[in-house]
């Protein structure tokens, strides 16, 4: 068979979203890849410039639909910097808790999608089932399962409901057992190891050169985690280990994510302990004067409220489940952010596809791309 190009995407089971991977193959061998992104571009950064700070949150939830809370946290950290607001301590802990729950939700979702890529059917549903527990918890305190709209400038919308901490502890216990099952189903399977060992290798130096972050970078043995290196929220007060692995292959990425799940449970338990001991306000007192009325009422266009906030610039980085995300918020004094720039880790990881796909086989593309954990909403923003 002569060489040919195939388009894996934009509608393809491997993509988990809308993007196109053009692959030049010779038989089963991958010779060249060319990722094409942008099918899901919604202009979130531009729309943000037309929204009140708190309303940008609704967009952040939809930036990455599996890790909405992480993106909420990211933007709100930047916005608080730009607006010179300091949230109360309890809000910080709640945000830490939320982000770790989101990490579990995202990683378990990743697990489900990843194992399905290599043909494991049952664990896909185990993953979806266990993610539902996390979504249930989210729903019990934010009011929604995926698009939370929970963070506000200066804190969080509401405090944890009564009984939440017990339920969360129960879920943590249950989840730890399930993680062991995940490992049995994958690491304990010879076929899985045959499929994943030594696949999609990207060594530490190449990762750094390509700007790759997150579990992919840590799978190469680089100990780099924003939560440790540049702590935000309450991460400087919780104990956890940075998960790294050696091997830099698909198995190593699997191992890193599985270890991060366990570390997340560890962080969550500390957060729950702290939150149980320290009641307090979850919203800052001295917010800049705002009213949250960005639009003129219908029929009375032309009327626009003008606030004057102290000018400022916010730059926040968090360890999102997929990698390091960055938000840059410029506050020029108006009601709306003057500019919002979001840096998506997956965009970088995906753009480097040729470095870890070329030379492997067509059948290797799904596990390798699965191990990157693509969330297209975040790539295209």
């Amino acid at each position: 068979m002569s060489e040919m190009w195939i388009n894996m995407g934009p509608q393809h089971p491997m993509t988990h979203g809308l993007w196109n991977l053009r692959v030049r193959i010779d038989g089963e061998l991958v010779l060249e890849v060319d990722p094409e992104m942008g099918y899901l571009h919604r202009g979130i950064e531009k729309i943000s410039e037309d929204r009140h700070y708190n309303e940008v949150i609704t967009l952040m939830d939809r930036t990455c639909y599996v890790a909405g809370m992480a993106w909420e946290n990211l933007f709100i950290l930047g916005a608080e910097q730009a607006l010179h607001v300091e949230p109360p301590e309890r809000a910080k802990w709640i945000r830490t808790l939320s982000e770790e729950f989101q990490r579990i939700g995202s990683h378990v979702m990743w697990y489900a999608a990843f194992v399905q890529d290599i043909g494991l059917m049952a664990p896909f549903l185990y993953g979806m089932r266990d993610r539902d527990l996390v979504l249930d918890l989210f729903q019990s305190y934010t009011g929604a399962r995926m698009t939370y709209e929970y963070n506000r400038v200066g804190g969080v919308r509401n405090d944890l409901p009564p009984g939440f901490i017990d339920r969360a502890r129960k879920v943590c216990d249950w989840l730890l057992d399930r993680f062991q099952e995940y490992d049995d189903l994958c690491l304990g399977s010879d076929i899985f190891r045959k499929r994943c060992d030594g696949l999609g290798v990207l060594k530490a130096a190449d990762c750094v050169r390509a700007g790759i972050t997150g579990p992919m970078l840590r799978s190469a043995g680089v100990k780099r985690d924003v939560r440790k290196d540049r702590p935000y929220n309450a991460y400087d007060q919780v104990e956890f280990d940075v998960a790294v692995a050696d091997g830099a292959d698909v198995t190593a990425r699997y191992l890193v994510r599985m270890e991060e799940l366990r570390q997340s449970v560890r962080i969550i338990r500390q957060c729950l302990d702290w939150l149980e001991r320290n009641p307090g306000p979850a919203m800052a007192e001295n917010l800049p004067r705002w009213m949250g009325a960005p639009y003129a009422p219908v029929g009375k266009e032309g009327y626009l409220l003008k606030r004057n906030y102290p000018k400022g610039v916010g730059l926040s980085a968090i360890e999102e489940p997929h990698g390091e995300a960055l938000a840059y918020v410029v506050n020029e004094g108006g009601e709306h952010p003057y500019r919002v720039k979001l840096k998506s880790p997956i965009f970088t990881n995906l753009s480097a596809a040729k470095h870890y796909l070329v030379g492997y086989r067509v059948a290797d593309i799904p596990p390798i791309m699965g191990s990157v954990d693509v969330c297209v909403g975040e790539v295209d923003r």
């Binding site: 929204r51 309303e55 949150i57 609704t58 049952a122 527990l133 996390v134 979504l135 249930d136 918890l137 019990s140 305190y141 009011g143 929604a144 698009t147 709209e149 919308r157 509401n158 409901p161 009984g163 939440f164 339920r167 129960k170 879920v171 099952e181 049995d184 189903l185 690491l187 304990g188 399977s189 076929i191 899985f192 190891r193 060992d197 100990k223 440790k228 104990e239 280990d241 998960a243 790294v244 692995a245 050696d246 091997g247 292959d249 190593a252 191992l255 890193v256 599985m258 270890e259 570390q263 917010l287 004067r289 009213m291 949250g292 009325a293 639009y295 009422p297 009327y303 409220l305 606030r307």
Partner: protein, 260 residues
């Protein structure tokens, strides 16, 4: 801190046992567990929000089905209490999707009709900002989540229909947000005011009263005022900061600010 800060895991040390024995055993164990009752919820017949389901199935099965599900604060369809709605526009203000339109409902006086929110669920993102903004607590979100309709026009809920949802007494979000403590007040740029009464007339809470303000005695050379001026005085404790007065002011003499 004695703990090491890095958890290194290696694929070289964690190896499979007996080819595929572990996954087969795990699947078989799961099979045995789900023989009695799988974790799925037979949705139209069992409902997570049904308290009976939660006690009978969740507790009896020993599985964490719906363990975190608390349905009181779920953000579903809105409920509107027409009787307490003051037509302040704040819900429409705060809606990021512009899915709320204030429409006239019967019951107001003919000159200044009562306007209440009509929600287009085709656009709504269920963010809950409207119910957070509602000063009277009359627009809340209920736990209803089944909205399938056959016509697009049926997605638009009129105020009466929202009132119908309210009358069903569904569980509602118990968490009410407190108003920020340091909100701006409505201030008056007095020299510009012509005393037209528009703000007081349209104020949804009737917190604006027009008071007679005696003008200062004219300076020599100026003409004396022709009549007694009325100026609006805002009662800050009743004011819900909806801004209606600002938008109706013909001379743009009302503005947001802090009392000196």
């Amino acid at each position: 801190m004695a703990t090491e800060e890095t958890a290194v895991r290696s694929g070289k040390t964690e190896l499979p046992l007996l080819w595929v024995a572990k996954p087969l055993a795990t699947a078989a164990r799961q099979f045995g567990r789900s023989l009695v009752r799988p974790s799925t919820i037979v949705y139209p017949f069992e409902r997570l929000e049904d308290p009976k389901f939660r006690t009978e199935v969740h507790v009896a099965s020993g599985k964490p089905i719906g363990v975190g599900a608390v349905w009181d604060n779920y953000r579903g369809v809105h409920a509107l209490n027409l009787e307490t709605c003051i037509s302040c526009n704040l819900c429409a203000f705060s809606c990021p999707d512009i899915c709320i339109e204030m429409v006239t409902v019967p019951g107001g006086d003919p000159k200044h009709p009562k306007k209440c929110p009509q929600i287009d669920y085709g656009k709504c993102s269920y963010c809950g900002f409207c119910s957070d903004a509602c000063p009277e607590g009359c627009l809340t979100m209920t736990t209803r989540y089944e909205l399938s309709v056959t016509k697009r026009s049926e997605m638009v809920y009129s105020p009466e229909r929202l009132y119908g949802v309210y009358k069903e007494k569904l569980p509602m979000n118990p968490i009410r947000l407190e108003r920020p403590k340091n909100e701006d007040s409505i201030l008056l740029d007095a020299p510009l005011c012509i005393g037209c009464n528009a703000c007081a007339r349209d104020c949804p809470t009737n917190c604006i009263t027009m008071l007679d303000i005696p003008k200062a005695a004219p300076k020599p050379g100026e003409k004396p005022a022709k009549r007694i001026w009325k100026e609006p005085v805002v009662n800050d404790s009743d004011c819900v900061r909806c801004g209606t007065c600002i938008s109706v002011c013909p001379k743009e003499c009302l503005f947001w600010g802090t009392h000196p």
